[in-house]
């Protein structure tokens, strides 16, 4: 391969006529719309998945591991049998896994920002947030994939959602939408922090309490009062309740509304902070 590289690298002689032809100023197309630019960056994210498929490991193997581990670890003790526990656990473990993998957004942004290609994007006359939205669109695909993997594993193990196909699809849609909104916190950290490692560190610090101190694994009634208070305001608890209710076929509109409001708040706050950092970088 290196032989061909050198060959085509040296054989080239810039020719005034062929170069001149591509330099001739044609009509410039109008600037792309915000949506079109965002979708183009989303396409870039998909191309990266195509070229580096290993990065899908964390949306396939990791969720499978989580589901198997917690079902068989706690199932017998907490609900009598793993299959019974699974009816309670699966929506929660799906939320946990997907929310956990949102942190790779920050890592990815942090890795990319150091490269020259970011400078080029930032000199383009396009809607400024589209670069970031593109990342998150690619990630939404990953979240959907992780949710699907967990659902399939759950069904194989004996998970039987009462909400049927519609309920499960609505639940996954809500989860992916919330994760998209929540990920703006990671784009912010990705731009704010100096290294990938510090992004990972902060992510763990935020994600472990958020996912474990919730109603994913056990009923909050068994916890001390101060912990119940935290679990009660933890957005992940509300998300889990909403997803559970949808999968169970009895949508809890109050919880769903809570999730949508906190998602919107996350976009407004962390989206604004992300763009502030992006423009200053």
């Amino acid at each position: 391969m290196s032989a061909t590289t050198t060959e085509s690298g040296t054989a080239f002689v810039p020719a005034a006529d062929t170069l001149g032809a591509v330099l001739a100023p044609g009509a410039r197309p109008p600037r792309p719309s915000a949506l079109s630019a965002s979708l183009t960056f989303g396409w870039r994210a998909m191309l990266k998945i195509k070229h580096v498929p290993e990065q899908l490991f964390d949306v396939t193997a990791f969720p499978i591991m989580m589901t198997l581990m917690f079902t068989y670890l706690f199932g017998g003790a907490l609900a009598g049998s793993p299959t019974e526990y699974l009816q309670y656990l699966l929506p929660g473990i799906m939320v946990t896994s997907v929310v956990m993998i949102t942190m790779y957004t920050g890592v990815e942004v942090n890795k990319d920002i150091e490269k020259g290609v970011f400078d080029r994007f930032r000199t383009l006359p396009i809607w400024r947030p589209s670069t970031m939205v593109g990342y998150l669109l690619g990630d939404a695909f990953r979240y959907t994939m992780a949710s699907t993997v967990i659902l399939v594993v759950g069904l194989v193990l004996g998970f039987r959602p009462q909400g049927g196909v519609a309920g499960v699809l609505a639940a996954i849609a809500l989860l992916v939408a919330f994760s998209f909104a929540f990920s703006w916190i990671w784009t912010m950290f990705g731009l704010l922090l100096r290294s990938e490692k510090s992004v990972m560190g902060i992510s763990m610090l935020v994600l472990f309490p958020l996912t474990f101190l919730s109603n994913v694994y056990v009923d909050p009634q068994t916890m001390p009062g101060w912990l119940q208070a935290f679990v009660g305001v933890n957005p992940i608890s509300h998300l889990v309740s909403a997803v559970r209710s949808l999968m169970a076929g009895s949508p809890d509109t109050g919880e769903i509304f809570w999730v949508l409001v906190s998602g919107a708040a996350s976009i407004v706050v962390f989206g604004a902070l992300t763009m502030r950092l992006y423009n200053r970088k």
């Binding site: 085509s8 810039p14 410039r28 792309p32 070229h51 400078d119």
Partner: protein, 332 residues
Amino acid sequence: MRDRTTDLAIEASGLVKIFGENRAVDGLDLTVRAGTVYGVLGPNGAGKTTAVKMLATLLRPDGGEARVFGHDVLREADAVRGRVSLTGQYASVDEEMTGMENLVLLGRLLGHKKPAAKDRAMALLDAFGLTEAAGRQVKTYSGGMRRRLDIAASILNTPDLLFLDEPTTGLDPRSRNQVWDIIRIVVAHGTTVLLTTQYLEEADRLAGRIAVVDHGRVIAEGTPGELKSSVGSGSVHVRLRDAAQRPEAERVLARELNTQVHLEADPVALTTRVPGEDADAGAERAARALAALAASGIVVDDFSLGQPSLDEVFLALTNHPATDQNTQEEAA
């Protein structure tokens, strides 16, 4: 200067950028006429890249102001972005994507529909000799190919002003010549080029005017010829037979020419500037200095009288050499 406002690609005055304690750019003034190649020459850390980033709307200046084709880089950043493009010091292309994908992505972001973006990408790959490599990931490209793809990406929509930040750093001589040829063709088609470089030869070869930058400010500005004549009429290089005679030779030359003599790394070589209004006066003085060396019994193996190089210009202006850091190793 006639037609001041319409004619200028860049007008910057008093630009300042501070990173913590470091005043990376410290009161930089720059005026670049449209349709020319303008060289910004300076050693590593002189503030060249920072200055380019401010002009290309990537960094907010902490002081001063700059206009690109009359548009303020802060208040009218979007208008500026519509007319410039930047090839950064480190290739501004996506390593994990193929050459084709890189160009199609940019074409789409510049508003081309997918078929048009593909056509444009193919035409560019062909013009830059990259057709064969179109389907390969950029990380498999050689340095020269990567740089060509980078420039191709920069002219996807032919810009009015192209920033080239050290476009040949780390390239082998043949790739460097290719980049020089490309730059000449680009300028011939009406694009203004702002080129930063630490290679004096490069600025001399390509640029119509040069600003020499050191510690974030312009310390000299003019055509390559003007810069050279501000230093003197030329320089004389002398090689001795015997290294032991060098201190004596240094003393004689300094006395005869009344200038500072530079001792080369080669223990038998000396270089000195020849003061004088023009080349003839300089040649005469140099001849007399050589005669004085012979009269002192110093054996000269070889000597040459030449125009001062920009290296010497830099040395004369700053009292320190231009390339004092291991930048080549770093880039390679």
